[in-house]
Subunit: 317 residues, 2 copies
Amino acid sequence: MAHEHLDDVKHYLLDLQERLCAGLAEADGVAQFHEDSWTRAEGGGGRSRVMTNGGVFEKGGVNYSHVYGAQLPPSATAARPELAGRSFHAVGVSWVLHPKNPHVPTSHGNVRFFIAEKAGEEPVWWFGGGIDLTPFYPVVEDVVHWHQVAHAACQPFGDDVYPRYKAWCDEYFYLKHRDETRGVGGLFFDDLNDGDFADCFALQRAVGDSFLDAYIPIVERRKNDAWGERERDFQLYRRGRYVEFNLVWDRGTLFGLQSGGRTESILMSMPPMARWEYAFEPQPGSAEARLHDFLQPRDWLDEFAGKTAQDTSGELS
Amino acid sequence: MAHEHLDDVKHYLLDLQERLCAGLAEADGVAQFHEDSWTRAEGGGGRSRVMTNGGVFEKGGVNYSHVYGAQLPPSATAARPELAGRSFHAVGVSWVLHPKNPHVPTSHGNVRFFIAEKAGEEPVWWFGGGIDLTPFYPVVEDVVHWHQVAHAACQPFGDDVYPRYKAWCDEYFYLKHRDETRGVGGLFFDDLNDGDFADCFALQRAVGDSFLDAYIPIVERRKNDAWGERERDFQLYRRGRYVEFNLVWDRGTLFGLQSGGRTESILMSMPPMARWEYAFEPQPGSAEARLHDFLQPRDWLDEFAGKTAQDTSGELS
């Protein structure tokens, strides 16, 4: 039973990887993803796909992995001691896009599925995932579109799903040492196993399938916006914050690095280039200073969804 | 009594900060350090000095801080539960140099002193510190010089000091997820409180005072070496590893960021620019491939100290 579930999820994830790569390569228009398969001594492996120096994407990766072992790692059982000692399968797809044009946001997503098994007992399974957006020069219209697609993906599963996963995303992608979110959020969920398998799986698919609809229109709108050294400098500076989040706060990255995962696949999420500048502060009132107002949790749909692009072209209130 | 010790150490550290800045600015020849003082709501503050875009140093920082509080932070008492609940003073100087020329190594050092107090009991104090070197295009002669100065600084305190602190440095500055050291090591020590205060303080001063003698001759030798885009690319790539160490493994950085230290001073250690490249491998036999052999613990003095520069100009055996 559980392995039928696993097979179903794997089938979906491998297909999702194909569709994400096809959609992103089409949006890029120049570069292709290159595939790199790997195996893990303790069990399992992955299929990494990476694109560099594209027409739109300076670096992009869409990685599938399926790892398994005789014992769930401690980090997976810290909150669920009843699962300690169970064997496990973990399968997922993660993706990160680092565009070249500073007007195109960076974006990330992940969908994952776990099964923990023990002889003579029912298998325990759960889903996790999400999508999130990290603009450098944010446009309210884009952020609202992003959240509208996220909202629409969740709506069939109940009115409370989008608000919960939206809030969870704001909470998860938060740099405590900077007192700011990583970006403008999106969706994040974990430990999803209430209701039956089919419903949970359908929700995970809805989130995974929403990504291209959420992201590609923003890429198309911004990819030809003019930029120069100033915008590039600010993008590289802000990418430093992305590095800080991933290496200091992201539980998945830290667990992977500290427990012997495949380093190059885990750090596929790193930007191709980033910079740090001591005590940098954008000029008050500048385009760069605007970003700050976007990096706190806001209710994008309630605040802005009814407004026209013209209404929202200026500062946030 | 304890606060006389504290005053003595502070006096030394503030003077060390002056001397380091003066020596480094002289070696740079172009830029000066800019000072930035800050205070900490819970008690204390610091005096950060940062240089950017110098003749030699793309970025350099020499930071003094003195923080105190009513309770030692948990990370400081994890290994010493008997100190939990004590009030504390922590005072130190940290420095990091990121040269522009890829032939000049990055370098770092730190000296620190703690006092933990409790009414009616003797104060507990301890010293920590070290210096370490991170070359991109290492030269054996430079590494041997570096370790000779480190050895000479420790020698007056016993034959066992250099080997112990050298091994501790290799162990501390280690990227487990890359299976390599951060650089070619140097000295690292912590919890130093055996013997009397004067001896421990003298050892700390010997380590702090050794830095300019260890580093400046290497800077002078390499600062005019020719380099181009290839060497710059490799330097930026390797600086990515420096970021990975500092954000994933360095206990001081992580503790500071997670417990509300001054972020800009803590992250002064970040390189001004760094890059990541998926699955990068240097060409076998290239100058870049040589670095790998330097990033495992080696006994530099026993292996190489008797050899001439000519003997050691080729590959490591």
